[in-house]
């Protein structure tokens, strides 16, 4: 580089003209603005939601609303507890029924299945995620629920000594069938993430188990499942988040009982169902209560999803030190994203 002095006002030989730099600048600032927009939007919506919900919190208090036992529209008394419990019951049912089947499917696909079948099997399970929730609701109410009534009645009668399971008449919208449909809906997510984690098990460990004289199942039990534990739990939690936030299928299948259903095979209510059913005609305090329900729903799914992602990230880094893996690179979390919360 020569050191000849440059007359002021002229550009350095290697510098670009301001005009040439304009597209770069515009792009950079434009995109940064977009990214900031996302932040602003979410914060804005959150605060507006809180604002709309505040009248009911003023009247009943946050705890009063959350733990109130009666959702009584007529009397302007809004206790969200039956809604919250309904949401939790159906989601718990979904987990109980869906996760074992999903994990088993993932184990089969990764460890036991003949290679040629692996692709088609994966596609079929993933297809479950493509069915929109309203179609699940449709199929549930017209096909599944009526067909299950005899079996449900049998269970209710035989197990009537267990509280909440037995002892009554089975109705068509009920907690159980809602939970069952939700289980089917979360199957693809949990299966995809479980599959993904299982394929990352280093073959070292599997070979060590086999070389020690383990049967196939024993190998899965000591080398695959423990390694995948936190990933599978993370996947299950993502499924939980989906189940909690699911609206339409639940609305169709759970009924609209303002109180806690007497037992598993009776109608109940859930946070999302209440909003879907009542918002259209709600006024004033009622509407504020529904906004509050949405807020509770929002916070719940937020918490569950945050924990889930933490677990999935931790598991994809494995229990050994290694290059940290960006969890969003996995196709499974991609599937989870495209199917999350309807």
């Amino acid at each position: 580089m020569s050191s000849t002095p440059i007359p002021s006002g002229e550009r350095l030989p290697l510098e670009r003209s301001p005009l040439a730099r304009l597209p770069d600048r515009a792009l950079r600032y434009g995109l940064t603005a977009l990214a900031a927009l996302i932040l602003v939007l979410i914060v804005y919506f959150f605060f507006r939601l809180v604002g709309e919900a505040s009248p009911i919190f003023e009247k009943e208090g946050v705890l009063g609303f959350t733990f109130g036992e009666d959702w009584n529209v007529g009397a302007e008394q809004f206790g969200a507890l039956p809604l919250i419990i309904g949401t939790l019951i159906t989601s718990a049912l979904a987990l109980l029924m869906g996760v074992p089947v999903a994990v088993a499917g993932a184990v089969y696909a990764t460890e036991l299945c003949p290679l040629r079948l692996r692709g088609p099997l994966t596609i079929l399970v993933d297809l479950l995620a493509a069915v929109p929730s309203v179609v699940y609701g449709l199929w549930g109410i017209f096909y599944l629920a009526p067909h299950l009534v005899p079996a449900e009645q049998w269970v209710a009668d035989t197990l009537s000594f267990i509280p909440f399971i037995g002892g009554g008449l089975v109705t068509i919208p009920n907690y159980f069938v809602t939970g069952l449909i939700l289980a089917i809906m979360i199957l693809p997510i949990v299966a995809a993430i479980s599959r993904e984690v299982m394929t990352t098990v280093p073959s070292d460990h599997k070979e060590a188990a086999l070389a020690l004289g383990a049967t196939r199942w024993e190998m899965i039990k000591i080398a695959v499942l423990p390694y995948c534990r936190s990933g599978i739990v993370g996947g299950a939690m993502l499924g939980l988040g989906r189940a909690i936030g699911e609206t339409i299928a639940v609305t169709i299948l759970i009924g609209d009982a303002p109180r806690l259903g007497a037992h598993l095979f009776q109608q109940g209510y859930s946070l999302a169902a209440a909003i879907a059913n009542e918002f259209g005609e709600a006024q004033g305090l009622h509407r504020s209560a529904l906004f509050a329900a949405a807020l509770v729903l929002f916070v719940l799914t937020l918490l569950v999803n945050a924990i889930a992602r933490l677990l999935v990230i931790r598991s994809s880094q494995g229990t050994q030190t290694g290059p940290p893996v960006n969890s969003s690179t996995s196709a499974a979390t991609r599937l989870a994203d495209t199917a999350a919360g309807a």
Partner: protein, 298 residues
């Protein structure tokens, strides 16, 4: 080879006990059964959709609006024209916004923000968006655009709710694909003296394009199937209209309202609409898969 003792004696002390063998077999069978159970619902749904839905398909079905005469058994209930068109309009409008914005944010995250705290915050918020229940998206738009403004439901408001829903999906999938573009590609272009924006538009985005298209198609498929965000934004109506600032019908909302009707012919129509919706979504998924096969990086 004729040893004195039968050969199996040597391995006798290493033999697998019958109990272990039983457990192994039992576990494998249980796993296989569970996998079959996982496939049953899909098959049943497909069967029902086809057997009950196909019979309601006809030209009239797709070219007439629903009439709303759903109370009497033999009345003409119409078809699903407005619902179909409404879905297409609103999803298209939503995509027009969500795709550029989503890809723009993804490009920013990968090319400019990278690991800065601001970028991490944005990623966190995108994560938050992913988990929001879809009905809450509808409520967000309701609060922003309907409460206090005196205006009511409109097609574009429904489209906006769908935009919110699509955004995180587009952003995440685009981010993933953009990160897979080898940094060597960018570096060699930059080393040749190309300005940043050119590298992004001529090299990075084209390389990532198939993957991004896949992500976009999947987001569109998801948005097409959503009901809840549209309930309190676009409202529901029977007539076809192309004016996004009026009430607009949509397939999922139509199905939803048909589900609650007691008339048998309406139920029939619901199945037909459901079949149409599922076919649409499956086609989008199929195209997405085909496109992703052409990708050189993902």
């Amino acid at each position: 080879m004729s040893p004195q003792a039968p050969p199996s004696d040597h391995l006798a002390r290493f033999a697998v006990s019958p109990a272990r063998r039983r457990k192994d077999r039992f576990a494998r069978i249980a796993i296989q059964i569970a996998t079959l159970i996982a496939l049953v619902p899909l098959l049943l749904i497909v069967y029902y959709l086809l057997s009950k839905g196909l019979s309601s398909w006809s030209t009239d079905f797709f070219t007439t609006d629903p009439t709303g005469n759903t109370f009497f058994k033999n009345s003409n209930i119409g078809g699903i024209k407005s619902a179909l068109l409404g879905t297409i309009e609103m999803v298209a409008a939503a995509s027009l916004i969500a795709v550029p914005v989503g890809i723009g944010v993804a490009v920013w995250l990968v090319e400019y923000g990278r690991t800065s705290w601001f970028a991490q915050t944005v990623r966190f918020f995108v994560d938050v968006l992913t988990g929001v229940p879809s009905i809450v998206f509808g409520l967000f738009i309701y609060i922003a655009l309907i409460v206090g403004t005196g205006s009511s439901y409109a097609g574009y408001k429904g489209a906006l709710a769908l935009t919110l829903l699509m955004l995180p999906v587009v952003i995440r999938s685009a981010e993933v694909v953009l990160m897979l573009v080898p940094s060597g590609l960018r570096e060699s272009a930059l080393a040749l003296g190309a300005p940043r924006w050119k590298v992004i538009f001529s090299i990075v985005i084209p390389t990532a394009l198939p993957g991004m298209v896949t992500g976009v198609l999947l987001a569109i498929a998801r948005a097409a199937g959503e009901t809840a965000p549209l309930l309190f934004t676009a409202g529901a109506t029977l007539k076809t209209n192309f004016n996004l600032s009026e009430y607009m019908n949509s397939l999922p909302v139509q199905i939803y309202s048909d589900v609650t009707s007691p008339t048998a012919s309406v139920e029939q129509r619901a199945w037909g609409s459901a079949l149409a919706l599922v076919v649409m979504i499956l086609l989008l998924n199929l195209v997405a898969r085909l496109v992703s096969r052409r990708s050189r990086i993902a």
